[in-house]
Amino acid sequence: MVQAVNDGLRTIMKEDESVLVMGEDVGPKGGVFLATENLTKEFGKERCFDTPLSEDGIIGVGVGLAMNGMKPVCEIQFQDFIYPAFDQIVSEAAKMRYRSGGQYTVPMTIRTPYGGGIRGGLYHSQSGEAYFAHTAGLKVVIPSTPYDAKGLLISSIMDPDPVMFFEPKALYRAGREEVPEGMYTVDLSKVREVTQGGDAVVFCYGAMVPVCTEAARRIKESRNKDIRVIDLRTLMPLDEEAVLQAARDCGRVVMVHEAPRFCGYGSEISALIAENAIEYMEAPIKRVTGFDTPFPNTLENYYLPDARRVFDAIEEVLDF
């Protein structure tokens, strides 16, 4: 997937001179995961440049660039390091259009690798999407395939509002899928149906999509039930109608994410259904999530939801 990100950046930078890439080590080194490889070489260091070690600076300067005609793509090296920039993101980027009555706007994209999968421990593994989904004025986008990564990234950069673009680092090296050359976009705010089915629905995103797909496959194999796996892709704005429709169609729901459960993104999905479609529910709305603890290191694979935990949860809702 990381090549698709790189390809997306290159494509939109060619198309639109106002697109800039900035962050720590994004220049000559090409980024820690090589997502920005060769961009400085190709577009010059005016268009892709390293910054001092300050996330507050990266985002604050990015907000200024965005207000004055540029489309900055700011990289935060790991999502875990976004918190020094939290004020600029939630107080400034998210609220600029609103507080200025639309006089100033912030067409900025914040790219950052998130989630587990590299034995990164507490601070190279977090999934903080709920913080941002709760913040009005931001969009939150998480791809799960190379195709979507490129298309959603281009859409995010072209979007007139600030977009948090979370890249599941566990999938960076996965999926050898070819992505189309050149410009294309993927709609922000449409879910993707990964598998079809009407016996239960599993909502997920990012690195949990292949995990859930595998669980669905095993359920099919062992019980011949058809599970609908839905990749939410755009967490904000959420395609609520699609979520509710799937919940109504299936009557049995499982929500899966890596982030801790308590007040996690999944709680919103549950709440939404409990508020608008509870009468269709034939089982409890289950959540399979990371635990309500910081992210461990040695035991990472016990912390992260895996296909077996998802499988068990699907069984539970099927058997209720």
Binding site: L20, E46, T51, P52, S54, D56, G57, I59, G60, V61, G62, V63, G64, L65, A66, M67, N68, G69, M70, P72, P84, D87, Q88, S91, E92, M96, R97, Y98, R99, S100, G101, G102, Q103, Y104, T105, A136, G137, K139, P160, D161, S189, M236, P237, L238, E240, E241
Partner: protein, 371 residues
């Protein structure tokens, strides 16, 4: 204030080389200061009578703002402002009605009644970034604004202002550091008005001065008498010139004083000694400039009285007009969150509108702003 540039001293006497400025310009500067005082007075009355919730007095710091504004080219330069320097806008030719629309948060307010009073946002007569309550956030933003101009080969520069207290924020540190590294065309103007609410300037930092903080970022730091409008003009002009010429950023510390409370609700007698007020009363920037202008023959008492009467009347009229306007429509709670309103917000808006259509309006009681 040994190493602090001064041109007109406290008694109104010229002690340095005055910049060559046209009479109209000087009078425009003077009028801007007087307008600010009129605005302050009007707002204090409005707040005391409960018609607006809050204002930020500018008495004492106007020379810093006006001197800086006069050094800009409004057609191409941007301002990323602090909340206590809107005297700049009077100099630059703002429509006062727009300012009072904001004070009342009415339907015509640029901020659509979403922000507290004095949180102005303008595109005209200058790009004046939307004022934020969180302190210091405008500083790196100004650097970004400036970098964009530099990148496009434009000649505009960004001026950003902030208080002495704001130098402790993250935005100060990241903004100055980035500007130093990228050589961005920015002027950083620190309004050292001796206080950050109740924290005195000397307890904000142990550094020798605020200007010296530039050293930490490879940025020249200059200290100026902030109550001397000509000295501020001179120093900011030079910094603007350097920035415009591609010679990078400058940090300026304007030494001035907040001649009153932090806001209309604050009682500074809890923490400022009367003697401090008295001492600074003698350095009043308006008195000083007025005295000098008189001595140069640009002003006389009659003219002064006329300008005061005019600005008072202007503020009164604008306040009245703004007060009479309706408040923003209910839908404005929901617009401008994103360019396009997502379905969930649309649903919330419709529910809200029908809720209040069916019944009376919301109770309009309001708590008091404490500070």
């Amino acid at each position: 204030m040994s190493d602090t540039l001064q041109i007109i001293d406290e008694s109104g006497k010229k002690v340095g080389k005055a910049p060559r400025l046209k009479r109209e310009t000087l009078l425009r500067m003077y009028r801007a200061i007087v307008s600010t005082r009129s605005f302050d007075d009007r707002c204090m009355k409005l707040q005391r009578t409960g018609r607006i919730g809050f204002s930020i007095p500018n008495k004492g710091v106007e020379a810093t703002s006006v001197g800086a504004a006069a050094a800009l080219d409004a057609a191409q330069d941007w301002i990323a402002p602090h909340y206590r320097d809107f005297a700049m806008m009077f100099y630059l030719g703002i429509d006062v009605n727009g300012m009072f629309d904001n004070m009342f948060g009415n339907a015509d307010d640029n901020a659509v009644g979403r922000q507290m009073p004095v949180h102005f946002s303008f595109r005209d007569p200058v790009n004046w970034l939307s004022i934020s309550s969180p302190l210091g956030t405008q500083i790196p933003q100004a650097v970004g604004v400036a970098m964009a101009m530099k990148q496009r080969g434009e000649k505009g520069i960004a001026l950003t202002t902030f208080g002495d207290g704001s130098t402790s924020t993250l935005g100060f540190h990241s903004g100055l550091n980035f500007a130093g590294v990228f050589g961005s065309p920015v002027v950083f103007l620190c309004q050292n008005n001796q206080w950050a609410i109740s924290c005195p300037s000397e307890e904000q930092t142990a550094s020798e001065s605020y200007a010296i903080k530039g050293e930490a970022y490879g940025i020249p730091g200059i200290k100026v008498d902030g109550n001397d409008v000509l000295a501020v003009y001179r120093v900011v002009s030079e910094a603007v010139k350097r920035a415009r010429a591609g010679e990078g950023p400058t940090l300026i510390e304007a030494v001035t004083f907040r001649m009153g409370g932090h806001s209309t609700s604050d009682d500074p007698s809890r923490y400022v000694e009367q003697s401090e007020f008295d001492a600074w009363e003698k350095r009043d920037p308006l008195f000083r400039f007025e005295t000098w202008l008189k001595s140069e023959g640009h002003l006389d008492d009659e003219k002064i009285a006329a300008i005061r009467a005019e600005t008072d009347a202007e503020m009164m009229a604008a306040a009245k007009a703004a007060e009479a306007k309706p408040r923003p429509k209910l839908g404005t709670i929901f617009s401008d969150v994103w360019e396009q309103m997502p379905p969930h917000l649309d649903a919330q808006m419709n529910a809200c509108i029908s809720h209040f259509a069916e019944r009376d309006e919301a109770v309009d009681e309001k708590g008091e702003f404490p500070l």
